[in-house]
Symmetry: C3
Subunit: 436 residues, 3 copies
C-alpha cells in the first residue's frame, strides 16, 4: 500500500495513524517538532512538514483550521497532492466558508477532499467505534475522492460519497447536530405535558384542596404523571397517523399524486417515526406507573382503610359482573395495545427495518399501527366507561383529561374509516397507482 502522510501529531493524527498502520499503510507524520515521542506509533516516521509531504501522495491535515495558514509556504510542495481535511468546528456555520473550501483556497494547486470528521479520535484509538461508522466524503476531484474512500474502506469504515466540495459545509455541520429530527416531537410532547400537568393539578389537587380541604399534593409524584403520560402518548400516537389521512384527502381532492404536499405536511410526515417513538416512551412510563399502583403506600392505605371500615360496618359489596367485564377488558385492551406498540418500536430499530422488505415494513407500520391506535383508543374509552356522562367527572366544568385525549384519535379513526370505503379507496388507489 502507498505511504500516507499525516500533518499533526495530536490526538486525531496519532489515532488515525495507528489505525492505518494496522491496516497496512506505511505512515509518515509531518510535525512542527519532529521528535518521535513514545505516544506516536513506533512504526511511523516523524519528519518536518516539508519532508513528510514529499514522501506521500495523500496528506491528511489533522490540525485545527485556525492553524491552517502554516500551509501557505508549503503550497509548492503540496501541488497535485491529495489533501484530506478532517477538521471540525465548534459551532454550526462558524465560518462563512467550510474548512475544506478554505483549505482549497489556501493551497490552490492541491486536490482537497473532506473526510473523517465524523469519527472520533478516542473511538479510533480504543477500537470502540460505537457512534457512526459512516464517513462522509466529498471533493471536486473524482480520483482523489476514490483514493480516500479506499482508505476509509480499508479501515473498516463505510464511505459515503456526498458529491462536490460544496457539500463540505453540511458535512462539517453534521457532527454538531443534536437530534435535529427529534426536536419537534420532543418539544411538542413537553408542551402537551406542561399543559396536562396544570390541567390535572387544577382538577385533582387544587379542586380537592378548595372544596374538600384535602391535601393531595403528593399526587404530583405518581397519580398526575400517570394521567399525563397515557394522555400524551395517545395524542402523539394519533398525530402519527393524522398526516397520512390528510395526505390522502389532499390527493383525493387534487386528483393527482404529482404535486407537492404543503410544506408543513411534508415535515410532519417526515417526523412521524420520532413522534411514534416519543409516544412509545410515554406509553412505557404509563405502563410502569400503572404496574406499581398496588405498591404505593396511598393505595395500600386506601384499600386497608376501605376494608376495615366495611368490616367494622359489617358490610360486603356483592360482585358486580359488569364491573368485572369493564375492568378486565380495559386492562386487556391496554396490554394488547402496548404489545403492538412495542412491536412497532422494535421494527423501527435500524437493523430490523433493514432486514424486512418495503411491503413488510409498511404492513407493520401502517396496518399494525392502526391496530395499535384502535386498541389504545378502545382501552381509554372502556376505562372511561360509564363515567363519561356522570357529572362528577366535570370539576369546574373541566372534563377528565382522557376525554380530551380522545378527540384526535377519534378524528383520525373516523377519517380513516371513511377513506377505506370502497368508492374512495378505489379512487385513491387509482391516483396512487404506479406506487408499487
Amino acid at each position: 500500500r502507498e505511504t500516507v502522510c499525516i500533518f499533526g501529531t495530536g490526538d486525531f493524527g496519532r489515532a488515525l495513524g495507528q489505525k492505518m498502520i494496522q491496516s497496512g499503510y506505511p505512515i509518515v507524520f509531518g510535525s512542527r517538532s519532529p521528535q518521535t515521542s513514545n505516544l506516536i506509533p513506533k512504526e511511523a516516521e516523524v519528519l518536518s512538514h516539508t519532508e513528510a509531504a514529499q514522501k506521500a501522495a495523500i496528506i491528511i491535515i489533522a490540525i485545527q483550521r485556525q492553524h491552517y495558514d502554516f500551509l501557505t509556504p508549503l503550497a509548492e510542495i503540496l501541488r497535485g497532492k491529495v489533501l484530506v481535511d478532517v477538521s471540525n468546528n465548534l459551532k454550526i456555520n462558524q465560518y462563512p466558508e467550510s474548512n475544506a473550501e478554505y483549505l482549497a483556497q489556501l493551497v490552490p494547486g492541491a486536490k482537497v477532499v473532506k473526510a473523517f470528521n465524523t469519527v472520533s479520535a478516542w473511538a479510533l484509538q480504543s477500537g470502540t467505534l460505537d457512534a457512526s461508522r459512516q464517513v462522509f466524503v466529498c471533493g471536486d476531484d473524482m480520483e482523489a475522492k476514490q483514493m480516500v474512500m479506499d482508505i476509509v474502506r480499508a479501515l473498516g469504515l463505510t464511505p459515503l460519497d456526498q458529491g462536490s466540495l460544496l457539500a463540505a459545509q453540511e458535512i462539517e455541520n453534521y457532527p454538531l447536530q443534536l437530534f435535529p429530527m427529534w426536536k419537534f416531537p420532543i418539544f411538542l410532547s413537553l408542551g402537551l405535558t406542561a399543559f396536562f400537568f396544570f390541567y390535572c393539578l387544577i382538577r385533582d389537587v387544587i379542586y380537592s384542596y378548595v372544596y374538600e380541604n384535602k391535601d393531595y399534593s403528593f399526587f404530583i409524584a405518581i397519580s398526575i404523571p400517570n394521567r399525563i403520560c397515557p394522555v400524551v402518548a395517545l395524542i402523539l400516537l394519533a398525530l402519527v397517523y393524522l398526516p397520512g389521512v390528510l395526505a390522502a384527502i389532499i390527493q383525493l381532492y387534487r386528483g393527482t399524486k404529482y404535486s407537492r404536499f404543503p410544506d408543513w405536511l411534508d415535515k410532519w410526515m417526515l417526523c412521524r417515526k420520532q413522534l411514534g417513538l416519543v409516544a412509545l416512551a410515554f406509553a412505557f412510563l404509563h405502563v410502569f406507573y400503572t404496574l406499581i399502583i398496588p405498591i404505593r403506600y396511598y393505595v395500600r392505605w386506601r384499600t386497608e382503610d376501605g376494608i376495615i371500615s366495611k368490616a367494622l360496618n359489617n358490610k360486603t359489596d356483592p360482585f358486580n359482573n359488569t364491573n368485572g367485564w369493564l375492568s378486565d377488558s380495559y386492562l386487556a385492551l391496554g396490554i394488547l395495545g402496548f404489545f403492538f406498540f412495542v412491536l412497532l418500536g422494535i421494527t423501527s430499530l435500524p437493523s430490523v427495518s433493514n432486514s424486512v422488505n418495503w411491503r413488510e415494513f409498511r404492513f407493520v407500520q401502517s396496518k399494525l399501527g392502526y391496530l395499535t391506535l384502535i386498541l389504545c383508543t378502545a382501552h381509554t374509552l372502556v376505562y372511561g366507561g360509564n363515567r363519561f356522562l356522570s357529572p362528577s367527572s366535570y370539576r369546574w366544568y373541566l372534563p377528565n383529561a382522557y376525554m380530551l385525549s380522545l378527540i384526535i384519535p377519534f378524528i383520525v379513526l373516523i377519517l380513516k374509516f371513511v377513506l377505506i370505503f370502497p368508492c374512495l379507496d378505489r379512487q385513491l388507489t387509482q391516483i396512487r397507482q404506479g406506487w408499487e
Copy 2:
C-alpha cells in the same frame, strides 16, 4: 461521472434522478412529453426518449411493464446499452416470465440488468430509507452489472449480486412477500391459541356455569388469555429445541453427518428463530397479564371479600412456610426464565447477532436457550406444585392446561439429558467432527 438516462418522469424516476444528481451523476430524463415540470429536479434535462437514450450508456426504465412495448421501435438506439429494469408487479408470479426477461426479449440487443425494485420512491425521496437498503442486482452481462452496482453503492445502498437474469423472477417476487418465514410459526401459535381457548373456556367458564351456576364469562378478557399465553409460549419454546434433539438422534442413528435431514426437519430447523420470537411475544403477554393481576377489579373484590369474611368470622390463617417457599420459588423461576428469554430475543436482533462470533451466538442460543427452557418448565412445575395429583384439578376429566403444556418440554429435556451422557456425546462429537 457518466451521464445516466432515466425513462419515465413518474414517482420513481424522479426520486431516483434526484438522488443520483445528489451523488454527482448528470441525469437526463426520457419522457413522452419532454417539458420540464417543477417536480423534476432542475439540474436534469428532459428530452424525448430517442434523444435521451443517445446521451447515456445506462438507461433506467422507470415505467410499468405494461407500457414496455413503446421500447420496440427504439431497439436500434438501445443496442449495446445497459437497460436497468426497476419494475415490480402487483402479484407474485403475475406473468410467466419476469419483467426483466420480458424487457430483454423486447430489446434483444441491450444488456438488461434487474435492480432497484426493492427500493421505494417515497423512501428515496424523503431520505428515510427505513426498510431494506439492500438492492438485489442480477443480469447476464458481468460488466453491465458492475456498472449498476457502482451506482447502487454511490447512492449509499448495498448491492447484492444474485447471479444471472434468471434470478429476476425471484427478485421481483421478493418485495411482494409478507414474512414468509413467519407464516408457519404464526399459524401454529394461532392454532394452539384456538385450541387452548376452547379448552379453558370449557374448563373454567362452562364447567363453573354448569355445576356452580356462576357466570365467569369475564374470564375471557384476562384469566383465560393468561392461561393460553404462557402455555403456548412454553410449547413453542420446547418446539424450538425439539428439532435439534431429533437431528442429533438421526445423526447418531445414521452414524454420519453427510446425509440430508428429512425435509420437514430441515424446514423446522430453519424457522426456529421465528418460533422462538413468537414464543417470546406470548411470554411477554403472559408477564404483563400477570403483573396487572392485583389491579383487576375481580381480584381486588375477591381479596376484600375474603378478608372481610375472615374478619367477621374472627378467623386468621397462620403463615404456611411451604406455601411461602412455593409461591416465591415459582415467581423467581418465572422472572429468571423471562430474563433469559429476553436475552435470547436481544441477541436475535440482526445488529447484535452480527457483532458476536459464531461460538458466542451458539453459546447464547443453545446453552442459554436450554437454561431458559429449564427455568420456564420448572416455573410451571412449581406453580402446579401439589395441585398435580389433586382430583379437583380435573374437571370433566380434563387436566389443567399447564399439565398439557409440560409434555413437550419434558420430552425435549429428557432426550437432551440422555444425549449429553458421555458415551452418546462422544459419539455425536465424533460424527460431527469437522464442524468447527
Copy 3:
C-alpha cells in the same frame, strides 16, 4: 467470473461451493475420492486434487490443518496460486504458528490468504447468517488478498482487511473467544452478588432466626435477590462513571492530555459499556422482582393478617402525608431512572449507535447517563428515607445493604459536581482542547 477450486468436499467445502455457485462462480472440487455424491452441488465438477488445482487460480483449502501434509507433493502445481486457508482450531493458540503460516511454510511458492474461518458451514448452507457477517482477511500478497475480498463481497459478506499473514493467529483465535470484554464485568457482578447474598442472608434470615426464632428462609427466593439486584445494579452503574471522573482528575493533575492513562484505567474505560449493560440486566431483574411483590403469598398473607388484626382491634391508621410523599417519590424516581437506563441500553444497540453522530451518542451516554445515576441514587436515598439513622436498621452493627450501595455513587456524584465548577471545568476544557 473466474473458476475457483475447493479442496475438500466436507461440510464447509460443500456449503461454500454451493453459495459461490449461486453467486455465479464456476466451482471445481478437489477430493481424494472424486465421485460426485448427491450432496455435492451438481453444477460443480469433482476432480482429483491435481486436476482441480490446474483449473483455477484460487484454491480454497477446506480441510483440517492436521491433514495439510498431503499438499506437499502438490507444491509444484500450487506455485503462484492463491491458497485460501479457512481452518479453525479447537483451542486458543493450539499450535505455535497459525494454520495459515503453517500452510505458507508447506507450500512456499503459493500466496496464502486467511479468510472465511469465522463463517459457519451451517449458516452458509441454510442462509441464516445470524452470527457475524464479517470475514476477516489477511495475507502478505496484496493482489491475492484483493481477489479473495472480491469473492467475499460477492457472497454478500463484509471483508475486513487485517493486514499481513501475521494477523492470522489472531483471526484464528477470534471464533474461539467467548465474550472476552464481558468477563470482567460479569465476574465483578457475580462477586458482588455473592458478597451481598451472604450479607443479606446474615442480616435478614440468620438474625431473625437467632433473635426472633422465625424461619424466613424463603426470603432466599425473592426478598434477598430483590436486595442484591438493585444494590449491585447501582454499584455497577456508579462504576461506569467513576473512571471518567478519575481520568479527568489525572488530566487536571498532569496538565496535559498527551500522556497515557495508567493501564488499569484504560482497561476499565474500555469495559464501561459491558459494565453498564450488566447493570441494566440487574436493574431489569430488580424491577420485575418488585412488580410481582403484591402477588407473593407472603405479602398477601401479611397484608391480610395486618388488616384483620386491625379490624379486630377496631384500629385504623390515619393517612400519613409524609409517607405518601416519600413512597410515591421513590417509586417515581425509580421508574424514571429505569426509563433512562433502558434508553442507554437501546442506544448501545450497534445499529442505533451507528446511526447517531458522536455528539448525540455522547449526549445520551454521558449526560443522560449521569441523569440515570442521579435518579437511581435519589431513588435509593428516598427509599431509605428516615430509616437511615434509626438504630433498627443496624443488625449486628451491619447497616442495610442499600446504605453500602450508596457509597460509590456518592463519590462519583460529588467528584463530578466538583469537576463541573467553572474554574476546573475551564481548565479541563483547555487541556482537552483539540478534542472535537
